[in-house]
């Protein structure tokens, strides 16, 4: 599996070069150099999601331009960049949430287990069953805590004792101890941080392979943010996580790989650099990355 992956990456390298000239020198190809990976599982498990020449349009406006990246299995990949650069658009492409926007159009490929998520015969519903998402603002259903977690399980017809699944998911989201006595209370009564962890539990309950997080901490206070970050490090042993954040420290703290996005002159989002997080933050190859992470703009 790993070897095969390497070959795929090598084969791609040539046409990626013009866009990412520096990053994709052989040494910093993501998903390959397991040595660079921080505290995660030492066994490199290859990439689970591959983006190839992804271009996204809203009507005539190009929102994303020639995005290429691969998401390592059981790794946290962070997407950072100034606001408006298309981070959210990109992450929403990964489980076809953008389908809800009528003028949305995607070109190129998003390969999940070798299947292009945007090919005609793919059912976006099933994509979302296997690639879950946590949103910027906590968005629990206006129902009980229990029902929030159970909803996805019920509709997906997952077998098993519901009570156990709910408990397991809430435990996994580090929320169980806080809510175990009030499962039937409204989820809207929880604090913002608890709501967001409930949303994570809800995503976990349907056992996705990937969890996408779109600025999951932007509406939370620092302590709640820290809880979520710790939680992400725990979850990554079981799941693959992609997180969009505008907070560079957060990316540095939690992620294994980092993609830096910028807005091009035509206002389309581009990926300027993608690689090992430590590399990006200590030794950025691209001038724009350096400017951004040192706070010179953005």
């Amino acid at each position: 599996m790993v070897d095969q992956e390497v070959e795929v990456r090598e084969a791609e390298a040539p046409y990626m070069r013009p866009i990412l000239p520096v990053t994709h020198s052989e040494t910093s190809l993501p998903g390959l150099k397991m040595g660079a990976v921080t505290a995660a599982d030492p066994a490199d498990e290859g990439s689970v999601l591959e983006l190839k020449d992804l271009n996204v349009f809203y009507g005539n406006f190009q929102a994303l331009k020639d995005i290429n990246m691969s998401i390592g299995r059981h790794r946290i990949t962070a997407i950072i960049g100034p606001s408006g650069c298309g981070k959210s658009t990109l992450i929403r492409c990964l489980n076809r949430m953008n389908d809800l926007i009528p003028s949305f159009r995607a070109q190129g490929e998003v390969l999940f287990e070798q299947q292009n998520l945007y090919s005609r015969d793919i059912d976006p519903v099933e994509v979302r069953q296997r690639i879950g998402m946590v949103f910027q603002k906590p968005n629990p259903f206006p129902k009980s805590i229990y029902d929030n977690v159970a909803f996805g399980v019920r509709i997906n017809g997952i077998k098993g004792k519901m009570d156990e699944i709910v408990e397991k998911s809430l435990r996994a989201a580090a929320l169980w101890d806080e809510v175990k006595d009030k499962l039937s209370q409204s989820a809207l009564a929880l604090s913002g941080g608890q709501q967001q962890r409930l949303c994570i539990a809800r995503a976990i309950a349907v056992e996705p392979e990937i969890i996408l997080m779109d600025e999951p901490c932007s509406a939370l206070d620092p302590i709640a943010t820290l809880r979520i970050e710790e939680l992400m490090r725990e979850l990554v042993s079981t799941y693959t996580i992609v997180i969009v954040t505008h907070n560079m420290q957060q990316a540095a703290r939690v992620s294994d790989f980092t993609a830096v996005m910028m807005m091009s002159e035509e206002r389309a989002g581009e990926m300027v650099e993608f690689g090992d997080t430590r590399e990006i933050f200590t030794n950025p190859k691209d001038r724009r990355t350096e400017d951004y992470i040192t706070g010179r703009f953005g």
């Binding site: 287990e113 059912d123 519903v125 996994a172 976990i204 392979e209």
Partner: protein, 315 residues
Amino acid sequence: MTVEAAGGPPNASQITRKGFSAQRARELPIYAFLFCCAALSIVTTFGIVIVLFEETYSFFKEVSIVEFLTGTEWTPLFTEKHFGVLPLLNATMFMAVGAMFIALPFGLASAIYLSEYAPQTVRSIVKPILEILAGIPTVVYGYFALQFISPEIVQFIFGSDTSIFNAMAASIAMGIMILPLVSSLSEDAMRAVPRSLREGAYGLGANRFEVATRVVFPAALSGIVAASILAISRAVGETMIVALVAGQIPNFSWNPLEAMAAMTAYIVQVSLGETPRGTIEYSTIFAIGSMLFVTTLVLNILAQWLLARFREEYE
């Protein structure tokens, strides 16, 4: 981490192809049903058009269009039949315009008051009251017109030898009925005028009255005109008031103190009797109905076009 991957996320499993997803297949009839619900509106429209024009067609096989549109006598229920629609059409339009003499000044003035002058507390009291006025069934207005407006107002002013059935009473009642429509739609239009316009005028030293009449009113004009057209359309289609208080006599006249049968009143008159299908009387109500339908449709489309233009300007 204990999500022991119940069966494990099946890594190798392919995402099923669209057509084979059982859940989706089961849902197909639901989407089809929902679409049919929405499409029923189109069926309804077609139904109306077909029903109206089928009978109208058979009507015009017996009566010439020229006579229908230019004749000034309408006596299809008598032995000597005349099929000139002008008396009915005239009565309908005459009374609708008469209603606007009440609804327009009072409706617009109260719209200006509510939008530009009224404090929040007054608005929150007055608006629900106007809504109640709009919610009163038209048959109640008919009763009110016949039992109060006609004897206590019209006959009081113009003398008791005036017929109790008269166009003026109908117009006044219809005017009160459509007043809330004019006032609330116009108020919406005026409130949609951006603050910056008002502030610009106040900045030049204009007072509230000048801002309301010279800035807000002209800016909202297309919305106000649309509201008025909708109100006229409502008055044209109004049935119970004219049937009760304007009388059943086809009367080609512009004297508001006379009785005159409107188009809708005629349809009611025929419907109350026994008119078997296939008779010319049965066809007449559909011919009149077509006329009514086309008139109100044109008015509504005009109003919607104006409203769309208004929205483009400010929203």
